[in-house]
């Protein structure tokens, strides 16, 4: 379909009013599109009448590449899907492989996976909240949030030697056990993180300008959220109590005591604040996991390097920082996947942008896009 990028004079609106329409093109290189999204915005004065996201600027063909890699070689590719939360893509893919090839996972590995994924949730949400602040003119919050994210990245570096693309979760376990003293570092971090969250809550969410910029902007009703397939904090901000960790429990999540924060209004403010409160819950889960963990192997022994699952297919999903992240794998019995398909929550959430932005100001569109928290590695794949 050709893109509609021409400005027009005398366009009749739905209300029967005749206006001049201006088309503004944002992106693909724009600091507030959080990557390489391009949005074609039709404006009536300063009011958005239509916003059309154009995606594909980061389409790297990862799903197709996976067909030419062995099952283990695909894991580093999944790192590059959702680069703000690499651990999730690793884990979702590995769960699918484990289901397909029937690979057991030691209990210690499951605990390690939960700990790194909850740490990753904190890192990812810090990025999301920080850019929410930066989009609405509060760059200070970005500095506060990025400081917290940097601590998590340092913990990951200590654990697996990389700051961003971890390749940590592998089929049948994780690549390394935690180093000595790491658990204490994590405990120290969660304790400090709680007070940082309280500070951010007061600094940003209590701020009158933030409330003015985010309250009542981009309202998503609970029914719409379900109908559009939204998940994660976007759906929970609208009051949809849906979290795979509770409602389709996987791994060792049923053993932890935690709550699912939900919003009430479904606006940008609630979506952002749900993320902040999820960080508190993540801290709780991490502390419980560290306390429950028992010594043991971190990876199933004797696993072949070339995994050749029996012919068939498998789908498994986890709750990533953006929502339900699923990986569908088809095997033809060879050592390479016949087909890999990623169900990307960022893509489904981004589809809401035209609906949410309509009728708002141009400057609010930026806040709405930020509150959907898309990561284009995962949207375009």
């Amino acid at each position: 379909m050709p893109l509609d990028v021409e400005s027009r004079e005398a366009v009749e609106t739905a209300e029967g009013e005749v206006v001049d329409e201006l088309v503004v093109n944002v992106g693909p290189s724009h600091p507030s599109t959080h990557g390489v999204c391009r949005v074609i915005i039709h404006l009536d004065g300063e009011i958005v009448t239509r916003a059309e996201p154009v995606i594909g600027y980061l389409h790297r063909g990862i799903e197709k590449m996976a067909e030419n890699r062995t099952y283990l070689q695909v894991v580093p590719l999944t790192d590059r899907l959702d680069y703000v939360g690499s651990m999730y893509s690793n884990w979702a893919y590995c769960r699918s492989v484990e289901r397909l090839a029937d690979i057991p996972v030691p209990e210690r590995a499951e605990y390690l996976r939960v700990i790194v994924c909850e740490l990753q949730r904190i890192a990812s949400h810090m990025m999301a909240i920080g850019s929410n602040g930066a989009d609405t003119g509060a760059l200070t919050l970005f500095v506060y949030a990025f400081d917290q994210r940097e601590h998590v990245v340092e913990l990951f570096e200590e654990l697996c030697g990389q700051r961003l693309t971890y390749n940590y979760v592998r089929p049948g376990g994780v690549s390394h056990d935690m180093p000595e003293g790491w658990a204490d570092d994590v405990r120290a971090f969660t304790a400090a993180h709680r007070s940082a969250l309280a500070e951010m809550d007061k600094l940003f969410f209590g701020n009158v300008i933030t409330r003015g910029r985010l309250k009542g902007i981009g309202v998503l009703s609970a029914d719409d959220a379900v109908a559009w397939g939204a998940s994660g904090p976007v759906a929970r901000g609208s009051g949809v109590n849906w979290d795979l960790r509770k409602h389709d429990p996987y791994s060792v999540y049923p053993r932890f005591d935690f709550d699912i924060p939900t919003g009430t209004d479904g606006d940008c403010y609630d979506r952002a604040r749900v993320r902040l409160y999820e960080c508190y819950e993540s801290c709780r889960i991490i502390e419980q996991a560290l306390a429950q963990m028992q010594p043991g192997p971190h990876r199933t022994e004797g696993l072949p390097r070339l995994i050749a699952p029996p012919p068939g297919d498998a789908y498994d999903h986890i709750e990533s920082a953006r929502g339900a992240l699923g990986v569908y794998l088809v095997s033809d019995g060879s050592t390479r996947p016949y087909r890999m398909k990623v169900r990307s929550p960022a893509f489904c959430n981004l589809a809401l942008l035209p609906t949410l932005a309509e009728g708002h100001m141009l400057s609010d569109l930026v806040a709405i896009l930020g509150s959907l928290d898309p990561v284009f590695g995962e949207v375009d794949r």
Binding site: L58, R60, G61, M65, F146, L164
Partner: protein, 186 residues
Amino acid sequence: MAIVDRIGETLDRTPGGVILTGVDSLVDWARGKSLWSMPMGTACCAMELIAASFNKFDFDRHGTFPRPDPRHTDVMIVAGTITYKMMPAVKRLYEQMPDPKWVIGMGNCTLSGGIFYYDTYSVVRGIGEFLPVDVYIAGCPPRPESLQDGILRLRELVEQESIAPGKRRDRALTLPAPDHGCGEAE
């Protein structure tokens, strides 16, 4: 090395003294110390680019300040995978930057396509295909320290260049026209 590099110690020796230097030396020195960057962050490396500008690494102290508008900037830091769909946009932004301008290629994707070199149909195998790159930084993604090293190396390059007549570097873009098709890039 221009005399302005020793400005601190000279002033220490003769407080309130006078330094004599050529205008070209002064301008060359100033250029290298204030490289405003255009963050062309497309993928994973953009996260490290952001990390480099914030709390811990604080690139502002090198005079490298990110500006999203190409018209304000001296150096484009291409951080991340460039696909064939993105390539015209990157090229256009480069053309919008005022002379003199430099390019830093951050990460393996800008070097050669990196992990996306084989088996994919949509990734440009290295931004050298369509941009004149001054400094490449390897890594997937490189650490902020590596980026820092890259910027310091670019600074050396910039200070070697001179605005004096006859010493200017030829900046004409003599690269072949990029192949927009999706075939093999070799």
